[in-house]
């Protein structure tokens, strides 16, 4: 039946007894994938050229004299393919045996253990016992520079790393040295990968534990890590990532595929900058009272008192300071509250700006942007004005001296002194860390970071992207949208948001740029803001 509607640009073939129709130019490996069949592969990677050299993806194609590499053999009409035939399995088992001839089998001390493709494939269909009785060849370990260590004995010589540097980073710093079983990966010069800005990706694409991160070395076992879909917070590109967490700490960041944003990749700057999410000494509970009168409180009392002060202040002039690290939900809730509480004079934010941007030459959609914060574009669209210098300081003179209502969300005010907000009629400070400049705050309220809550950012491409909660916030810290949204609802008598989805829905209502979007629709891959509105 399927054949009736078939177009000329598709082909229909049979794989392991199942008929499948795929676009012309689809490899057998991908065609099998559409049926849920994973053909083992090492050298093939969807983001790189296909040298067809590892030879583990060989499958039987009826009529072909030899087994065919499924990574480069294109599907053809009427082809009958067997990935599980006795011949294909025997050859795979043979290739796997070859991989183990020199492999040290040091899984117990290997960082890749648990997510290693050699472990997986051998476990699935390798021989029960090796036949090798000869001493193994030993290469040892090599520091490649940057964050990368090379364990030559674990290398399966797939050359993904070499090809990534050549084809994607276009910074040919790796090569295969020697030939035959003496072949190893090496750098050309002593500097190795030092100063390369995307080299961390070779650790991700290495199918085994041959390339490992120095930062992550022996830090955690793969199976102990929780993975949470998130967005890199370190520049406005918003690369899709997974947070890998254990013991309520971020252990590392890994890119998550998104062809529209970052492909399979992320930059080394973004990857390396996660320790701030684990920084201790957080604000854990609300406090009420200015200066020496500050007293610990709880949410119920603090919010009640704050509601009364806001209600009293009705009609006052309001200034708010947001942050480009805050979610859209937080920023819009802040704005809504400010508009409710009085007359909004200005909403501002600050963000660091790098001197240059840094594109990935072989995948130029991915650019480490100049704006070193995840939601600069969201803040702009939601009506906040950028102030201050490129180092993220200054620009708060008016806020500092404001005599009406002053609300600061997510800006640690690191460059401000104790006089900040001294003249304010009401000064509310919501943040993750206490600050000397929060001394005059009437209310100090603890917030969660983006890793401890759900929400969205808008990246430099005008794409709304969701992040999920990977960590528990400290003490009673709350998402900003919840705190601000609750207060605004109390002032208007409306419904308070109970989820990030609610907060997002109110953005969609209030801002044409978000028109038509629904929370579920933003999904894992994000959604472009309508070009006309963005």
């Amino acid at each position: 039946m399927a054949d009736n509607g078939r177009k000329a640009d598709t082909v229909t073939l049979t794989i392991d007894g199942h008929e499948v129709t795929v676009p012309k130019g689809t490899s057998l490996l991908h065609a099998a994938e559409t049926l849920g069949v994973e053909v083992p592969h090492y050298c093939y990677h969807p983001g790189l050229s296909a040298p067809a050299q590892c030879r583990i993806c060989l499958v039987e194609v009826e009529g072909a004299p030899k087994l065919q590499p499924s990574c480069v053999t294109m599907a053809q009409d009427g082809q009958v393919v067997h990935t599980e035939s006795a011949q294909a399995r025997r050859m795979r088992q043979g290739v796997l045996e070859f991989y183990l001839v020199n492999h040290p089998l040091d899984c117990p001390i290997c960082d890749m253990s648990g997510e290693c493709k050699l472990q997986d494939y051998v476990f699935n269909e390798g021989r029960e016992h090796g036949r090798g009785r000869e001493p193994k060849r030993v290469f040892g370990r090599d520091d490649f520079g940057g964050d990368v260590l090379y364990y030559g004995d674990r290398c399966v010589m797939c050359t993904r790393c070499v090809r990534f540097m050549d084809e994607v980073a276009r910074d040919g710093r790796l090569t295969v040295v020697e030939r035959g079983d003496r072949a190893v990966i090496d750098t050309f010069f002593e500097s190795g990968l030092d100063g390369a800005s995307f080299a961390g990706n070779i650790v991700d694409i290495c199918p085994v534990g041959a390339l490992v991160s120095k930062d992550f070395l022996h830090k955690a076992r793969a199976w102990d890590l929780d993975h949470t879909e998130s967005v890199c917070p370190n520049c406005s590109q918003g690369c899709n990532i997974d947070l890998h967490t254990r013991d309520n700490l971020v252990q590392r960041l890994k890119p998550r595929e998104n062809p529209e944003v970052n492909g399979h990749w992320m930059c080394d700057y973004g990857r390396a900058n996660y320790e701030w999410l684990n920084r201790p000494g957080r604000l854990e509970a609300p406090a009420v009272g200015r200066g020496d009168k500050r007293r610990a409180s709880d949410w119920q009392h603090a919010l009640h008192a704050l509601f009364e002060r806001l209600a009293e202040a009705e009609g006052a002039s309001v200034r708010v300071v947001g942050s480009a690290f805050s979610s859209n939900e937080a920023l819009d809730a802040l704005r809504a509250l400010a508009e409710q509480a009085g007359t909004l004079q200005a909403g501002v934010f600050r963000a660091r700006r790098a001197e240059d941007e840094d594109p990935l030459p072989g995948f130029p959609i991915l650019v480490r942007r100049r704006d070193l914060a995840p939601n600069v574009d969201g803040a702009g669209i939601l009506g906040f004005t950028r102030v201050g210098d490129d180092d993220g300081t200054g620009g708060l003179e008016e806020a500092a001296d404001h005599d009406g209502v002053l609300i600061v969300v997510g800006d640690e005010l690191a460059d401000q002194d104790e006089s900040f907000g001294a003249k304010a009629g009401l000064f509310v400070y919501l943040g993750t860390f206490d600050s000397p400049a929060a001394r005059n705050a009437d209310f100090v309220l603890p917030l969660t970071t983006f890793a401890e809550e759900e929400g969205t950012f808008v990246n430099a491409q005008g794409r709304v992207q969701r992040f999920r909660q990977g960590l528990r916030g400290p003490g009673t810290a709350q998402p900003a949208w919840l705190v601000l949204g609750t207060l605004a609802a109390a002032l208007t008598g409306g419904d308070r948001p109970v989820s990030a989805a609610d907060a997002f829905a109110s953005i969609v209502q209030r801002h044409a740029a978000f028109g038509g979007l629904i929370w579920e629709g933003v999904g894992s891959a994000g959604a472009a803001l309508e070009a006309a509105h963005a």
Binding site: P51, A52, Q53, C54, R55, I56, L58, P65, K66, L67, P69, V72, M91, G94, V95, E97, F98, Y99, V101, N102, R131, G132, R133, E134, R137, V156, M157, T159, T175, V176, E178, R179, G180, D181, R182, A183
Partner: protein
């Protein structure tokens, strides 16, 4: 210096001038009819030249025996892009030393062959890729090429025909794998000498991404004669499936090793016993590798009725390859011989393909252990299975090239292995 050995039964087409340095000059070569082949080709045109080579039935002398005229006809026409002819002078197959001699004694024979090939496939540029160790050979060829340029035989408007053909010499760095056609292309382009996957085939995407034909030295030398005399002329020698004459590089335990030229189909035993003066010291024949190290080994029995042509050697269970006949007498330690060859392939594997990279090295280590008297009978099964896993599973056939000698030696000389494994006895010379 006179050429080492000759035999009156030879048919000397390619080797006529071996041992005669006077043929190294243009004038000397012309005395032997040189440059008449390219002159006639230019006269009859490209297509007719290809037809001649097709009619001759000439098969590639680099090892695979692919029909040369057919290969040339694969070249696309009117692409508007440069075409290239590559001459494979990397000659590194153990036991092979024919191309070197063709170049040393008759460099113009090769130059003429390159001109014929280039002209036929529409290439304005031919590269001759020379084995790195060929120092003297390269010097002789370079001198001849310089003279050919000076005489207007190579370069712009060759022989006043309006056709431009340049020839460039490229010296390799001494890697066997750079003799594999696509490995050679990578090496020529300045990349690692690693064979490429096919498709695309060289006629579509070859050197520098352009349509390319690659031929062995002996193949191209033969086309110079075919171009001069026509295809039918060539068929007066050889068999129907293996027309023409061929250089046989005989090495090993015979009294007169060397290069001998015979029509294909010449009996193997006659070559050994008559032409080469029989076995050294009157010893008995034990084994022959007929086509360079990459083919199955033959027992003395297999050799009896074997005729040296593509189909004849195949019928005897091996392959003619490049017709490098390695003769071994009764004192040969087959296990050691196979191990030494395995080591060669281990050393020369480019290392891309897992079965080849790991398989060659592993097999060598097992063979070494057997040789050291520490083997078991299981090892023989393991060796055969490794070899099977190395066959038909890789990008090029270097991997198969080791598998074949291993499997055939265990099949045919199992007793030699077992003597070592069971009793620690080395069969053959100490």
């Amino acid at each position: 210096m006179a050429y080492p050995y000759r035999h009156e039964k030879e048919t000397r087409i390619l080797s006529e001038c071996f041992g005669d340095p006077s043929a190294r000059t243009v004038a000397g070569w012309k005395k032997h009819g040189g440059y008449q082949g390219i002159a006639r080709a230019l006269e009859i045109g490209r297509d007719a030249t290809i037809e001649d080579v097709k009619a001759s039935g000439l098969r590639g002398r680099g090892g695979a025996g692919f029909p040369t005229g057919l290969k040339w006809s694969f070249m696309p026409k009117n692409t508007g892009r440069p075409h290239y002819l590559l001459c494979n002078a990397d000659e590194s197959e153990p036991g092979t030393f024919k191309d070197r001699e063709i170049i040393r004694w008759t460099p113009h024979q090769l130059i003429e062959g390159c001109l014929v090939g280039s002209y036929a496939i529409g290439a304005a540029h031919c590269y001759i890729y020379l084995r790195g160790e060929f120092f003297e050979t390269t010097q002789i060829l370079a001198r001849a090429l310089e003279e050919a340029y000076a005489e207007g035989l190579v370069g712009r408007d060759i022989m006043g025909s309006g056709v431009d053909i340049d020839i460039t010499l490229h010296v390799g760095a001494g890697a066997y794998i750079c003799g594999e056609e696509t490995g050679l292309m990578n090496s020529l382009e300045g990349r690692r000498g690693e064979p490429r996957i096919k498709p695309p085939f060289p006629a579509a995407v070859g050197a520098f991404g352009m349509p390319t034909t690659i031929n062995n030295v002996e193949t191209l030398a033969a086309t110079a004669h075919i171009a001069r005399h026509g295809g039918e002329w060539y068929r007066q020698w050889g068999t129907d499936k293996s027309p023409g004459t061929k250089l046989f590089c005989v090495s090993g335990h015979v009294n007169r090793p060397g290069n001998y030229e015979f029509p294909l189909g010449f009996p193997m035993m006659e070559l050994i016993e008559d032409v080469c003066g029989g076995m050294r010291d009157g010893k008995a024949l034990k084994a022959v590798i007929p086509g360079g190290s990459s083919v199955p080994i033959m027992s003395a029995e297999d050799c009896r009725a074997c005729t040296l042509c593509y189909e004849g050697v195949e019928a005897a269970g091996s392959m003619l390859g490049c017709a490098s006949v390695i003769v071994m007498d009764e004192n040969t330690d087959i296990v050691k011989q196979v191990r030494r060859m395995a080591y060669f392939y281990t050393h020369e594997s480019c290392g891309q393909c897992t079965p080849c990279r790991e398989g060659t090295a592993w097999a060598t280590r097992i063979l070494r252990r057997i040789e050291d008297g520490l083997g078991t009978e299981d090892d023989l099964d393991t060796l055969i299975q490794i070899s099977e896993q190395m066959t038909g599973t890789t990008i090029c056939v270097l991997s198969d090239s080791l598998a074949m000698p291993i499997i055939s030696s265990i099949e045919k000389f199992r007793e030699d292995y077992l003597a070592l494994i069971r009793r620690g006895e080395r069969v053959g010379a100490a």
